[in-house]
């Protein structure tokens, strides 16, 4: 141990500078203002939820499952959300069936096959732009294109093509850019070393994608796409344009084809139409329907997370 004359002074200086006396005021202010923003956001959310639950829980407790299984009605005492619920579920399945293969396929093409040219970059940028287009615009597209299309292939049903098939196509196109973007991001997250390793042992591009890239990207693709379904599940505006019923109608025990070609509605559309009823009782029904909607969305998101963890835990 050699102690130089300077060491005591140096130690003091070091101590002074690492203890940072009074020098972090700005940082603290910043930190607290960030916390405050978060609190404001949470507060609004909490008020909103509290209000909905206050109004809606009563209906759910009184009527129980009956509220879910009863058909739509003008009578608030007996009105339920059965057609809306089945409509939403069928619609979401339809959207998944249309948007997933096309969206994931496009993402695979863009990420794994397409050469990096101006043209592909142009397409990529525009897919991003499309994801930001307001949903009502998609509704108009659905009205002019898919309603006509559905009618022209003879699936117009009794509603002139303003049915679930047209709605499914519309919502599928609406979520397509988001499906492509999330799937492409999941594919991009697969390290290139895996691709090189597979090419290195003589795999074709398809084998690389099929056996290595897709399995690695699957958890990400899955979560991303399930979340886009949640988006489709909650859409209202475009459905109003492609004919989702805001009044009540009867499905009786119609078959699947009649349900998809006939009149239909969806949960958020029912929320919308009930919210416009002057009757105070309908306000409670609206809140109850919102609770059902939220529970379904949360379940879907939780399912996405669980599925992802399941996949990821494999290795």
């Amino acid at each position: 141990m050699v102690s130089t004359p300077r060491s005591a002074g140096t130690a003091d200086m070091v101590r002074a500078s690492i203890s940072g006396r009074g020098s972090r005021k700005g940082g603290k202010v910043f930190e607290y203002s960030l916390l405050a923003s978060l609190m404001v956001a949470l507060l609004f959310l909490a008020i909103l939820l509290a209000d909905i639950f206050r109004q809606g829980l009563g209906v759910l407790f009184d009527r129980g499952l009956d509220f879910v299984t009863s058909p739509l009605s003008l009578n608030p005492e007996t009105a339920g959300i059965w057609q809306s619920l089945t409509g939403s579920v069928l619609l979401t399945i339809l959207v998944a069936l249309i948007a997933f293969p096309i969206g994931i396929g496009s993402a695979i093409y863009l990420e794994e096959y397409a050469p990096d040219t101006r043209f592909t970059r142009f397409i990529n940028t525009n897919i991003r732009n499309l994801a930001g287009v307001p949903s009502i615009v998609y509704g108009i597209l659905g009205l002019t294109m898919f309603v006509t299309f559905t009618r022209s292939i003879g699936l117009g049903g009794g509603v002139n093509g303003r049915n679930m098939i047209a709605a499914g196509l519309t919502l599928a196109v609406l979520v397509l850019p988001i499906v492509i973007i999330t799937a492409a991001e999941a594919l991009r997250a697969v390290p290139n070393s895996i691709r090189e390793a597979a090419f290195g042992v003589g795999a074709t591009r398809w084998e690389v994608v099929r056996y290595h890239v897709l399995p690695s990207a699957a958890p990400g693709i899955l979560t991303g796409t399930v979340l886009t379904l949640a988006r489709a599940f909650g859409e209202t505006a475009p459905l109003l344009l492609v004919g989702a019923a805001t009044g009540f109608f009867t499905t009786g025990n119609a078959g699947l084809l009649e349900q998809t070609t006939g009149p239909y509605t969806a949960l958020p559309v029912t929320v919308f139409s009930w919210a416009r009823q002057p009757d105070a009782q309908f306000r409670e029904l609206t809140a109850a329907a919102i609770i059902v909607l939220l529970v379904l969305l949360l379940t879907a998101n939780a399912a996405a997370v669980i599925l992802r963890n399941r996949f990821e835990r494999r290795w």
Partner: protein, 284 residues
Amino acid sequence: MTETPRSESSLSVQAPGRGTGRSRSERPIIFDVQGLAVNYGDFTAVAGVDIDIRQNEITAFIGPSGCGKTTVLRCFNRMNDLIETARVSGSIEYHGVDLYGEGVDPVEVRRRIGMVFQKPNPFPKSIYDNIAFGPKIAGFKGDMDELVEQSLRRAAIWDEVKDKLQDSAFALSGGQQQRLCIARAIATSPDVVLMDEPCSALDPIATLRIEELMMELKEDYTILIVTHNMQQAARVSDRTAFFTVDVGDTGMRTGRLVEFDDTDKIFVNPSEQQTEDYITGRFG
């Protein structure tokens, strides 16, 4: 695996001043490289490479960082095809066939010319599947279990993994992963194995094992290895290519082959001053 008979040349290993082995010059040339240059877009990464690679030899690529060793190595199995900006010019003949000629299927090329990458890159799958993937897609019909065992034995890793073949390859240490990658590369019975700094992340013991492995493998394969480790090049290789970087007026750094000769010659009595400077500089 110690039973494998060694050829005269590898028996006479006495690094670095070992005899060059008379039979070597008679070994058939399997790669004939002429005027090879690689561009990434407008940037010429390396140019003017003329070398010939002989069968059952180990050829080492040495040179300072950025001189294009990896770039050149990746030309041999058309791995540069995967980099969109990369353009290969000049010619590489493989058994007399132009590797970049029309009608040559890069997939078929990579089945014959395996590669071990600088960073161990096992598939995120089981140890078993890591080995079995290559043979499976190549349509291997024989006993897969046996092939997996044989490949792992040859890569000197069998004893460490034989009880956990179904475990994730990611659970292995870096050195074990690298040997797994070597096993994966030889499972498809290639003709040539390209190794890009296979030992750069390994401890001296693992390095030694891989060097021993290379000496064994060259009985059956032709090996090209990139290394920053002079001693390693001197110890294992039969011939050495020394690359350097020329800095142009515009500041463009282009790699160039300076000298290509028997390893003993390069290390003991190089023809070029640059080679000597590099080698002695490294040895201190």
